[in-house]
């Protein structure tokens, strides 16, 4: 029995679901969460999505979801690579997850049933394949949710994780009549004026190291407060450093609290970002990973530069 069949059987044989998404939610975890919630409700079950927060650009995913009053019995995590990534929900849910659906290479959520497919570019791809096994009928709103995950986790089909399977799934979703271009415009092509000013400032602080094979940018709390930039407006910054010609590994440092930095790492094919982050207790994908470092901005930069010189 395939993992997907096992997941479908689990979902059909339980009820009263809480679906967990990861902290700092993105299009794939939220698209997965609301798609699964809609699918379960379509089958007459009770379900709700549990987020740490819901950025305003993703509110459209909640359309069609019914607010149901029930006592939770079954916990499912979607696109969550480790319980620690549940953020403020970790304490309440750790150890209680019954089904983990995930696509990360390193996937560590303990659960009696695990459906993990790292060949899927997005978690939504996996759900697209589980739903028919459950007898779920694809609807336009399900397609909206799944497309959001499929598109955002591949950089709109730009990155190396995109396969012909990804593109054929996206084609089937487009056939449901969704406004894919509208979704993509919000996800990839919309910048607020404040964000433009922030980018200007970020570029001014752009630093190179390792013979320009590494570049790094930083967003401090001060910059964010001064320009009034919301957290969800920081999406997309992580890809800036690696876009520079010749750069093989790029860091985006984001100050989460005073002297604590979240580091987003993006690399070209010959540098493993997940391995790089592992030395600092982080993880992720081969070309996109993350970790956390404490210290002043200059200290954190120095730590990263030293580590890069080991790798490059």
């Amino acid at each position: 029995m395939s993992d997907k069949q096992a997941a479908a059987d689990f979902l059909l044989s339980h009820d009263n679901y809480e679906i967990l998404t990861h902290a700092y939610p993105d299009g794939d975890t939220l698209g997965s969460g609301y798609a699964l919630c809609l699918a379960l409700q379509q089958l007459g079950k009770n379900a709700r999505v549990i987020n740490t927060n819901l950025p305003k650009d993703f509110v459209f995913l909640t359309e069609g979801v019914t607010d149901q009053d029930f006592e939770a019995e079954t916990i499912v995590s979607v696109d969550v690579a480790a319980e620690s990534l549940l953020g403020s929900n970790e304490k309440a849910y750790a150890g209680r997850i019954g089904l983990c659906i995930d696509h990360h290479q390193i996937s560590r959520v303990p659960a009696p049933v695990r459906c993990v497919d790292p060949t899927a570019a997005s978690n939504c791809e996996i759900l697209f394949e589980i739903f028919p096994l459950m007898g779920v009928k694809l609807t336009k709103q399900l397609a909206n949710c799944l497309y959001t995950g499929v598109s955002t986790d591949t950089g709109c089909f730009k990155y190396g994780n995109t396969t012909s399977r990804t593109l054929r799934i996206a084609a089937d979703l487009l056939d449901m009549g969704i406004d894919a271009a509208g979704i993509n415009k919000v996800m990839f092509d919309t910048k607020t004026k404040k964000k433009i000013r922030l980018e200007q400032e970020i570029y001014q602080g752009l630093e190179y190291c390792a013979d320009d094979r590494c570049a790094m940018i930083a967003v401090t709390i001060d910059m964010q407060q001064r320009l009034g930039v919301r957290d969800d407006e920081l999406e997309g910054l992580a890809s800036i450093p690696r876009q520079i010609e010749g750069v093989e590994i790029g860091f985006t440092l984001r100050e989460k609290e005073k002297n604590v930095f979240k580091i987003s790492v993006r690399s070209s094919r010959n540098v493993n970002a997940a391995q790089f982050c592992a030395q600092f207790g982080g993880g992720g994908h081969a070309e996109a990973a993350g970790c956390q470092l404490s210290g002043t901005l200059e200290e954190v930069k120095a730590t990263l530069k030293a580590a890069v010189n080991e790798v490059l």
Copy 2:
């Protein structure tokens, strides 16, 4: 008989081809040109591609093309909406085109056989469908060429012209084992350091009008020379103004020669960019079009602002 069958029959029954691409060549015209050249050579015919120039990022498209010595007999244009868009090749080739393969809404090249399909997101989509009718075998290098057109003309499947047909064609091309992510990185995600400095300067000159529903940026000859930025490094700038939240029409002004500006227009769905450009003798697609205006930078901006106030 469909247009595509007519095009296939034409291509099978002639020989000694010159394939014309449009001036300021992009991924779709060049991808189409080299794909068609490879296809014809695969069938034992003579063919070459005629460009005004070949930006270095596109040189990989020429791989596998044999340099053949022959006297041209048959002229085919690919992705050329009007003879005036042949640039420096217009004089030599106008009135001599035997087959026009194009996907523009307004397509005006006079030719005895015309295969024009405006429902195709890219010209390469059309060729993908013509090749089987000619008995051409899809190869990896053909797939490289076709993918480049399919991807670049849809903004990597991001824009509203992308259909499920587009995505299924892209899936078939990926199945040929091409390095799609590598192509996309060059086409969409690589910036030189000079280009980053140029963008900085462009953002400083960003102007809004019509209650911030219109934004415009400009690249002058002075800026380009001072920063040493090549023409082909200016690709992608056209999408900047419309990316700003609330902007419905965006202009990118590029000074081609002193006081002569090429205007790239990008619009949201409720404003027709092609119609807007038509009043200045230009044209293009509903959401992406272009025209040319003469005058000082300030004069050209004033002309555009006045025209925008008529439309918005």
